[in-house]
């Protein structure tokens, strides 16, 4: 009886722990909105990245992942998968100017395979006039900030789930960023990888399916959060990342952990080149 009571308490504590969030404070504030002399006096933007402090992969996890990779070959199964962690990003903007202004906060990031930076992704034909700007994964919406005032907001867990899947679709599946961002994929069970975008003889961009669909169990989660802060006045943005560690892979010491105890990820920047379509 005593053992049952004790184990009930322990199960309760463990269950609570699995759902308890941890908060990771961004090491620095992002200050922007001042004329940038190096950029013809245009207003400065601030960029910041926060790598999640994830423990090194255990041998057991690696063996499990290798087995899943062998089963799903040629699809690679990531160490950190969608559903392993639930992330949200909370931010606060302070307007340091004495006039009201607007700011935009754009969310990007990286999985363990690829990073996504829309400023280096150009999908239009080289001779396109005024091509549309590649979108960020979330945000980039004007936010009114009163003079000297403060505004807070967040990218929710749902936003980050959607952004993680969009990132994987774009980077591993060559799905158009416009399509990925404008469709809701958070409940998707798989996505079909495509060939890299290429121009056909008519000057249109074409893609065709390539390889088997990537199942949800192999969707890569975001392991690095990138923010771009674009105010039209002098403002400062502070943010923190809230993580619910559903699989128990976050390091207890978070950013204070020893580097050797953290999984090093080396994502490759996703920067497709639009070339000529291969001859049929």
């Amino acid at each position: 009886m005593r053992a049952i009571a004790l184990s009930s308490v322990l199960v309760g504590v463990v269950a609570c722990n699995a759902n308890d969030p941890v908060y990771i404070q961004a090491p620095m504030a992002m200050e922007a909105g001042m004329p940038d002399p190096a950029n013809m006096g245009m207003l400065s933007e601030a960029k910041a990245s926060l790598q999640l402090p994830i423990k090194t992969e255990t041998a057991a996890d690696k063996a499990k992942r290798d087995a899943a990779s062998a089963r799903l070959a040629p699809i690679q199964v990531p160490y950190v998968k969608v559903g392993d962690i639930a992330i949200d990003v909370e931010w606060t903007i302070k307007n340091l100017d004495n006039m009201p202004g607007q700011a935009r906060v754009e969310l990007n990031g990286a999985s363990e395979f690829f990073s996504y930076d829309p400023s280096i992704i150009h999908l239009s034909p080289p001779d396109a006039e005024d091509p549309p700007k590649t979108p960020g994964l979330a945000g980039d919406i004007p936010i009114a900030v009163p003079a000297g005032g403060t505004v807070s907001g967040l990218f929710t867990e749902d936003d980050l789930l959607e952004a993680s899947i969009d990132l994987d679709q774009v980077t591993r599946g060559n799905v158009s960023p416009f399509r990925a961002v404008l469709t809701v994929s958070k409940s998707a069970l798989s996505f079909q990888p495509m060939t890299a975008p290429a121009l056909n003889a008519a000057g249109e961009i074409t893609q065709s399916p390539m390889g088997p669909p990537v199942p949800r169990e192999a969707f890569a989660a975001m392991v690095r959060i990138d923010l771009v802060f674009k105010p039209d006045r002098h403002m400062v943005l502070n943010f923190n990342v809230r993580v619910r560690d559903l699989r128990g892979i976050m390091h207890d010491m978070l950013l204070a952990a020893k580097p050797a105890e953290l999984q090093m990820f080396d994502p490759m920047p996703y920067a497709p080149m639009v070339g000529a379509a291969p001859a049929p």
Binding site: V9, D20, E90, T92, S152, L254
Partner: protein, 191 residues
């Protein structure tokens, strides 16, 4: 008629004197193993008061009366608080769990009993949100807990049941020595 009036006066006087002399015995109450359940609020004091709001608490306690003036027990308490650290984050909550053992000294005066109590145990915080204001260090989730306080309780006519009001101050040395007051209404059942 006169006899009836006299009998009435005698009855009233007898009843009055009887009532005056009949309150000497204390209200009966059980002694031995007891269980308590309480609801109340926890308020952080001094430094932590600006970083965490007043929050609801629930408390259960099991104990045993060793003597009429001494009892020992163990308690589990959980309280939930909104963190009011500088944003971000904003509007986030955390929970504080405490498991403690304690001793009570006290006595009973008819239907009212009063105790002073003190004890020690372990506290666990559910998240690192107070790390932003240096109350918790990285990776720190547990602290020793000390508490001391007092309670009064009212014995109901059923000898097993009493209810009361308790207030305890507690100290968590590992969490930057934060202090708080836990006040609660409780119901006690003694077997």
């Amino acid at each position: 008629m006169r006899m009836r009036r006299l009998a009435l006066v005698v009855l009233v006087v007898a009843g009055w004197t009887g009532a005056r002399s009949g309150t000497a015995a204390a209200r009966p109450s059980s002694v031995g193993w007891f269980a308590e359940g309480g609801l109340g609020a926890v308020k952080f004091l001094s430094r932590a008061s600006s970083d965490a709001d007043l929050g609801p608490t629930v408390d259960v306690r099991i104990g045993r009366d060793l003597f009429s003036w001494l009892s020992v027990g163990v308690s589990l308490a959980a309280s939930s608080h909104q963190a009011t650290v500088p944003p971000p984050p904003e509007g986030e909550w955390f929970q504080l769990y405490r498991a403690e053992g304690d001793a009570r000294l006290g006595g009973r005066f008819d239907r009212i009993a009063a105790f002073v109590e003190g004890g020690a145990g372990l506290a666990m915080i559910s998240s690192n949100i107070l790390g932003k204001v240096m109350i918790t260090d990285p990776g720190e989730r547990f602290s020793i807990a000390f508490h001391a306080g007092a309670s009064v309780q009212y014995q109901l006519e059923n000898r097993h049941y009493a209810f009361g009001l308790a207030a305890d101050a507690f100290l968590l040395p590992q969490f930057a020595s934060i202090r708080a007051v836990d006040s609660r209404l409780f119901l006690r059942y003694t077997y």
